[in-house]
């Protein structure tokens, strides 16, 4: 799995902890000040489980708990759910500031998105 972003974003790489903070809705803006739009797959999608484990080094239920603790305390979430890999590509390509994830193969040679390098700790 790789992290992908809208080509407008100023960032080319994120650290693993930065990725955890972005996908649990703690970090809300890019360093340029542009707002981050988190695009995620449905929880039942195999890509979601693979992404949390391979890229974030968390089990899906560990990040779910963090997100639910905000949602159920009345903090409305602004993440967008994609129902397929094609939709993930389309949404990340079309929304300024968007970040998402996809299988590595599906992301290669796609000029409409960029792949963010993940720096491991």
């Amino acid at each position: 799995m790789v992290i992908i972003a809208n080509p407008s974003t100023s960032t080319n790489a994120v650290s693993q902890s930065e990725a955890r903070l972005i996908f649990s809705n703690d970090i809300k803006a890019w360093k340029s000040g542009e707002q981050i739009a988190v695009i995620t797959m449905r929880r039942t999608d195999e890509a979601y489980s693979r992404f949390t484990q391979e890229v974030l080094n968390l089990y899906p239920y560990q990040i779910e708990r963090a997100i639910n603790r905000k949602r159920y305390a009345g903090t409305a979430q602004s993440e967008i759910v994609a129902v397929s890999a094609e939709e993930m590509l389309k949404l990340v390509a079309s929304i300024p500031g968007a970040i998402g994830y996809i299988h590595k193969k599906a992301a290669s040679n796609m000029p409409s998105i960029k792949i963010l390098e993940v720096r491991n700790e």
Binding site: V14, S15, Q16, S17, E18, R20, L21, D26, I27, K28, A29, W30, K31, S32, G33, Q35, R43, T44, S49, Q53, N57, L58, Y59, P60, Y61, Q62, E64, R65, N68, R69, R71, Y72, A73, G74, T75, A76, Q77, S78, E79, I80, V81, L91, E121
Partner: protein, 396 residues
């Protein structure tokens, strides 16, 4: 029971037309959960007649959140909770928050949350009734008291906050000015004053401050909470008590360290001071210092199974840990002033929306036993065991 189901159906239909106008893919959504528990104790009752096995514990919630624009979002939750004689299952507005992000920077947000806010103490209080946010079946009762929970749940007012982040850390501060909702009820009177007296407890505006700091590449998290809660007692027409005040100052400290993704260690401590003033000779002027703390380890075995163990301890008066002085003064058994609890358990994630949890407790003392399920404290036993089983379904 029928009334309750009807209410839920009405609330669902009330929300549906609103939802239809809002594009789900914009991240606004309806969410909710249903949790059903089962408790079995060898002696003493926890959430219903648990000595013969009790299904008298369930939680149902339906919420919605809308991001109206870059500045304003709104979120809320309706909740029904049935827990033996301690909670009757009525439908309540658990929270309804207008979040105004007044100032946005490239690495910070400053804003205000107006409305009915959850009281944000500890890692879990704000979402204590949602099984999928709890790391264990029951939260540690030494600090997240369920027997006297009403005044710990939510408050109406405002929370001003500032959050900031960098590549590897996240920090949030907040100041609170709110009026607590759960003060005037028998459960809270029993907690503060030993029984349900004829008069009324009225909350004044409470002030508080809280911070959370996640650092060390998000592996370590610390949190602190301080709250000042003034409460006035107004005597009933025939009442041995006089008009007076009960002031609670609470300090709460929390720490968590993760060795990702396998091991999580958590510890929290609850350090309140309760000051009594002017209530008359039956409740003399004095300060009482309760204490509660726990240490918990969670081992994530796989993407569907985790195990946990915990030790927690609570004293109603930290200067009378054995309960002797308080027992002599009140006639209540010594063991009702303390409790220590060894817990082991597991969470099984059958699917992202269905969680099955089981846990076993070995307990010494009854300080957190719900009085409403055990009306005669002299009939309770000091040493008791409890087994809990819970299934929780959630959608979003």
């Amino acid at each position: 029971m029928n009334k309750r189901i009807t209410l839920w159906i009405i609330s669902l239909f009330a929300v549906t037309p609103v939802m239809a106008d809002i594009d789900q893919t914009k991240g606004n959504g309806l969410y909710g959960f249903v949790t059903q528990g089962y408790f079995k104790t060898n002696t003493n009752n926890f959430y219903g007649k648990s000595q013969s096995g009790s299904f008298d514990f369930n939680e149902i919630g339906v919420g919605a959140g809308f991001v109206l624009n870059d500045t304003v979002s709104v979120g809320g939750l309706l909740l029904s909770r049935k827990a033996g004689n301690a909670d009757n299952g009525s439908v309540r507005l658990d929270n309804l928050v207008f979040d105004v992000k007044a100032l946005r920077g490239e690495n910070s947000i400053t804003g205000v949350r107006l409305g009915r806010n959850k009281i944000p103490f500890g890692f879990y209080n704000a979402t204590r009734d949602m099984a999928m946010t709890r790391p264990t079946l029951l939260l540690p009762q030494s600090v997240y008291h369920d027997h006297s929970r009403n005044f710990l749940i939510n408050a109406d007012g405002l929370e001003a906050y500032h959050e900031r982040w960098d590549d590897e850390s996240y920090t949030r501060f907040a100041l609170l000015y709110e009026k607590n909702n759960g003060i005037d009820n028998p459960q809270t009177e029993i907690y503060f004053m030993g029984m349900d007296w004829p008069g009324k407890l009225n909350p004044d505006y409470a002030t508080g401050a809280t911070f959370t700091h996640t650092f060390n590449n998000t592996k370590t998290r610390v949190a602190g909470f301080y709250g000042h809660l003034p409460t006035k007692y107004k005597p009933g027409t025939v009442d041995p008590l006089t008009s007076g005040e009960i002031t609670t100052d609470v300090m709460w400290l929390s720490g968590m360290h993760e060795i990702m993704p396998k091991l999580t260690l958590t510890a929290e401590a609850f350090l309140p001071r309760i000051a009594y003033d002017g209530l008359g000779p039956l409740i003399p002027n004095r300060n009482v210092y309760p204490l509660g703390w726990y240490l918990q380890a969670t081992y994530a075995h796989s993407n569907s199974l985790e195990f946990y163990g915990r030790y927690d301890q609570t004293y109603k008066d930290k200067f009378d840990k054995s309960g002797e002085k308080n027992s002599a003064a009140t006639g209540m058994p010594k063991h009702s002033f303390y409790a220590s609890d060894w817990t082991v358990g597991l969470n099984y994630f059958y699917s992202p929306s269905l969680i099955i949890s089981a846990e076993f407790h070995r307990i010494n003392g009854t300080a957190f036993l719900p009085r409403l399920d055990n009306p005669d404290p002299s009939m309770t036993s000091e040493r008791w065991n409890m087994f809990g089983l819970q299934a929780s379904y959630n959608f979003r």
